[in-house]
Symmetry: D2
Subunit: 410 residues, 4 copies
């Protein structure tokens, strides 16, 4: 039976699943779950088109991987078919360990557990089920495969993960200025000294990539309204857990209930045989169904927060260059107190946070450019473009968000 | 306070909310719920990009309405600002009455209740809350407003509803051949004798519209795999209700539980004061959360069906030109029986259905063309294009879908 | 030296020139001339964006050829690198023999000489210069290469020529409804019994292709205004030749002068050693420069026609289902006579013509579909789609065009 | 007779000609000539799709003007219909004074004459023919109309000219990273103190605009290969003029001949009654037809240069940060001398030049931002974006280009 398959994709036109192994992976419940987890979590609250899933992103990254490897082959680099398949498998699976509303939920439910670690655990489980057919893919993912550039295509400044998500997020949000021109970037990739590099003639494309990425940060990922909604969902989950710990009864979907009642650690995935399956039972629906279930809960903190989020009655939010002091916070607290919020519950309605565009950090993982004379240079040195530095500067912002029209008085 | 707002839309670039009233409607929980209901239900099982919501569609239809009315104004037709706003409000609200997985859920939970009737009830409730500001919009929706063409822009062969959904569905599925060219169609609209008509020079555009619509039917709306998934979800809901009626305990989200336990009629929306709110509590998350909750239920029929749907292990499906007879059904039944399916449960695993592209029915609501000499003709008469007839023919197909690898033996 | 090159293309993103031979062909003066010949001749008079050249089309067709052959390779068909290069070369060169404003100029200057014959002569000359490196490409072009499907990819209902020009013409005219979805079509191609066929699951795509092609005919290729402008240019050239034959002095560019003074036959390309070079000296600029040079010529017929064409003061045009009789023509003639047009010059200002969409003729070159059971069927038989017949019907129209505001009185 | 007309445009979908006056202007020979002048001159030598004309650009800029003015109206600014029409007329006509291959030809044929001055002369002639219907448009163009922001929409950092050409050049070259997002920019425009400003929430859009503009400069307008081709055409024209001045006979189209034999000044347009008509007779075809006519001229300098340009056998080019000295030039000269180039003709085959991206000069015409508190700030001050400075820095480069394989030995 030929499992080759073509999938329509608004972003790239078509995505081809090019081998039986890849087909079986796509078909597996681990991948199918990602159909029910949105790539951008709550972002559709600002950009109503931003509903694309981690499943679609995984397919897209696999597509770019095959495009990029073919382009490298055409430049004369030897890449074996098993390597081609393994690299596609690795990038297809690279997000398995994400929960719904990733950073939000993880910070509450699985503090200290990195999603990459869960991904790796799930890849190993898959490899077990598939009798070792993922050995190379896992090596590439972990960075232990001898040819290092494969790992860089999975995880680096120019990896296929980033290229697809920037591309896809720009497309579905409708923020077209954030388009990175993945097509052209991929044609500019090369390998030198077993490193993924960019050709000199691709300098302007890289500059454009950095620019687009920066724009996506401020326009989408760190959008004020989105940060506010995320803060609200975080507080909802903290409150729910607090109530559960105090012995209150709370509606929850079966798999979600387990995570609400426990704080698991990475080791638990090894020792509790059914934990991985429970984790794989979690998706966006559990969170929304629970929030909806809690909107009439007797605890006013929980129910007010849930109703506000469901009806998009979001907290106000304000950015600051420095952590805001009492002159900012005190008046807001006063307001909340007079609306009936208790002192120990103030933090549910007045949230301080910090955010930054960690878009390009030279030290750890530079973008390397192969000059026409063969020399490799860091992008910032290769370019006579004065903007690189500006584009790659980390900007940190502080914010406060708070409920404006809340009333907790009986 | 100015509530004017611009929303990014991958399909049209930007959508403008042009008045306070429209802003308040978009903001209302009735509209916000539509954020959580996908326009195409289960279609992302075939087209992973097809995740757009009824909320986004409603905004898009409102946008097209404003474009179309402006184009008519430029042709010299007098349209008052209150009419412009009312027409936009009406189209914005036209889908309020849809439940999640519309036709699937309604056929099981609300048989005999048309979603248009629920929409109207909800519009009236909104109008009550807004002190009559929706009077004209409701008249336009119902068709009682004196200038009839407004109603045709909300509901007819060339209404803004259809234009947006065909456009949007084509975009998000990636089936670009289904693009109807809404831009051009809108520029070709005119009013004649208080009827919405198309200019003669728009004949080719209309032909293209009919062609694209037909293609969308067969490529998307009636796609085999989608029909199969819908049939499965329908059977899941029937089984769940059967179990509930037999007194079995079943996990469900609170609002969904109420609909699972009762079979409401349209009148109940009037007599049960909180029914509308419960209805407005229902969205895709309730259905998915429940299906996920049932995947380990002790009833094997229910749990097997749920697991299969969640993991995309779908029923096989076959089309027939005539209703298939025993020579088709008997061998399949035999197979199922030997897999342990009981006689009275066969219909959960072997489903017969019928489908048709009801794309253009001349009789009830013709597309009218205004010839250069001023005469109005039905499209089929106006065109020397021999394809109109072919494009508007209703094609009926029968199908059978069945579980292939099921096993219900202990 | 590596001659591999990537070219930006608004239609496909990028076009890769994948071998030294192809690079040398693109670089050759024969191909470079096509930079100065627009694909759609006078069509920018209706669609101001329709300025794309035969050069760009040749590159695009080469691109689609490489895409299509790679897709066939992925389906398991063996295609050797030399075949891949030859097929690309053949399609790259397939239009060499076109003159400027192809059908217009050829009908006047080279009556009875088919442009395919000139193409072949030029390909042979190229092959001579390149020491036989085009042997296979020429065989494929002529249809003598043993594997027949290659010829079908160069010249048949589904050839890469047609796919690119429909795609490209739709793009540059802005008639987006004419988009054929080349991407998808190419993925549906297959080879069976050494024939180019389409997979059964591509039926809807083929229907869409036929529909789009038909639309492009009526909306673009046979657009009234374009037919009128073409008729005018034809008459200008006839008049110019008439004057030259009567010994009048006429401005012309050097290469164009030669064709104005002589009526060459195909054989002359063999016997006159410099004729091919002179032919290769002809492009759009010669025609426009001459028309501009003639706008003040003392012959009023010539100068009036030229001024009208330059300033887009075009003839009126009317379509008829039957060849129009005297009741149509006589009043127009009368009008022209009273405007000072001499009897023997009437045909310069009143032109009769006939046109048809020869889009799909079943007999000579059917589109074949490979059904899932392996059988090959003609598209019209394979499809239960009732529109195929309608889409492929040849529609013939007659037209008259005439000068409206002409005055030839001293 | 209603002259309202809709024109297909691949960039914006449709362009509407919204009044009789605008229709008559589009129809006038002055505008129709621009159909035959490419916006980007020789750029199709690098980007084969870059064939769009100044005519199409003029229509596009008119379209953006109407969009922008409507957006301003929706924000509550009063704009009268006559102003709306005048602003559209002004931008439609703003490029009338361009000759073919604008900067190239002007530097040789009309040194010291600014094309804006010719534009103004032609606008006045049009106004005369139209009995003063262009009075307001001319005031807006000249900057004497009382409401100054109209002039800024025609000529400033954010004028509709720039927005359309950046947009259109990006589209037709296929350099999609150069897309400026004109849609969004236009929605962010506002008027404050009779100045065209951008809203604070448009800051990221402006940054993107500056970035895209910079990219277009280096990727397109100042592309090495294009600079080389322009240098060659310049030298061809200098040589042609030199030969003519020495009494040599040279083929040329009639209107072009006049400019080849004379060096006109701006005043001549007033004193020579037919000069404007002759100027309006010039377009790309004259230049190409002449270059083609000269390719066999007996002067080897002229004919060699022409053949090289026609067959895209371009000069090599090298950039330098400082004006290159003898260590660069001498070896090249030596090479050319040994190829038979005479000392006094060396400058035809070895050309020095200088180029810069004059993209944003703060002093003369700043982009102003209207902050939420109402204050107007220069973009560089309004933004906490560290890239503005980098994006607006003027970078100057020096280049040398020279013939590589030339041979002028008998």
């Amino acid at each position: 039976m030929n499992k080759r398959k073509i999938i329509n994709d608004p972003v790239y036109g078509f995505i081809t699943i090019s081998s039986d192994l890849l087909y079986d992976l796509v078909d597996h419940p681990f991948l199918q779950r990602l159909r029910r987890i949105k790539q951008l979590g709550l972002a559709d609250i600002v950009y109503p088109g931003a509903l694309h899933t981690r499943f679609h992103h995984a397919l897209g990254a696999m597509h770019l991987m095959s495009q990029a490897l073919r382009a490298l082959q055409e430049k004369g680099h030897l890449i074996w078919e098993p390597e081609l398949e393994a690299a596609q498998a690795a990038i297809l699976l690279h997000d398995l360990g994400h929960g719904p509303f990733s950073h939000v939920l993880e910070s509450v439910m699985l503090p200290g557990v990195e999603h990459e670690s869960i991904t790796l655990a799930m890849m190993k489980e898959l490899n077990r089920q598939m009798n070792g057919r993922l050995d190379i893919a896992i090596q590439m993912f972990e960075g232990t495969y001898p040819r290092k550039f494969f790992h860089q295509m999975i995880s680096s400044q120019l990896d296929m993960d980033r290229m697809d998500y920037l591309n896809r997020d720009s497309f579905y949000t409708g923020v077209i200025e954030g388009s990175i021109g993945a097509d052209r970037l991929i044609k500019m990739l090369d390998i030198s000294h077993d490193q993924l590099v960019i050709e000199e003639k691709g300098l302007l494309s890289i500059e454009n990539f950095l620019h687009a990425r920066r724009l996506m940060y401020w326009q989408v990922y760190l959008h004020k309204t989105l940060l506010s909604a995320q803060a609200m969902l975080t507080q909802i989950l903290f409150r729910a857990r607090e109530l559960v710990q105090n012995g209150e009864k709370l509606f929850a979907t079966p798999d979600f209930e387990r995570f609400l009642h426990n704080e698991f650690k990475l080791e638990d995935f090894d020792t509790l045989p059914d934990l991985m399956e429970a984790f794989n039972g979690l998706d966006d629906n559990d969170v929304w169904a629970s929030v909806k279930g809690w909107k009439t809960h007797q605890d006013p903190v929980l129910s007010v927060l849930c109703r506000k989020l469901l009806n998009r009655d979001l907290f106000k939010i304000q950015f600051y260059k420095e952590p805001p002091g009492n002159e900012v916070l005190e008046p807001l607290k006063k307001q909340l107190r007079s609306a009936g919020v208790k002192e120990e519950e103030l933090h549910f309605f007045l949230i301080e946070g910090e955010t930054a565009n960690l878009s390009y950090a030279k030290e750890q993982d530079p973008i390397r450019v192969k000059m026409k004379n063969g020399v490799l240079l860091d992008i910032a040195d290769a370019s006579d473009i004065p903007t690189i530095e500006a584009l790659t500067k980390i900007v940190r912002k502080y914010y406060v968000c708070w409920a404006k029209n809340v009333s907790l008085r009986g």
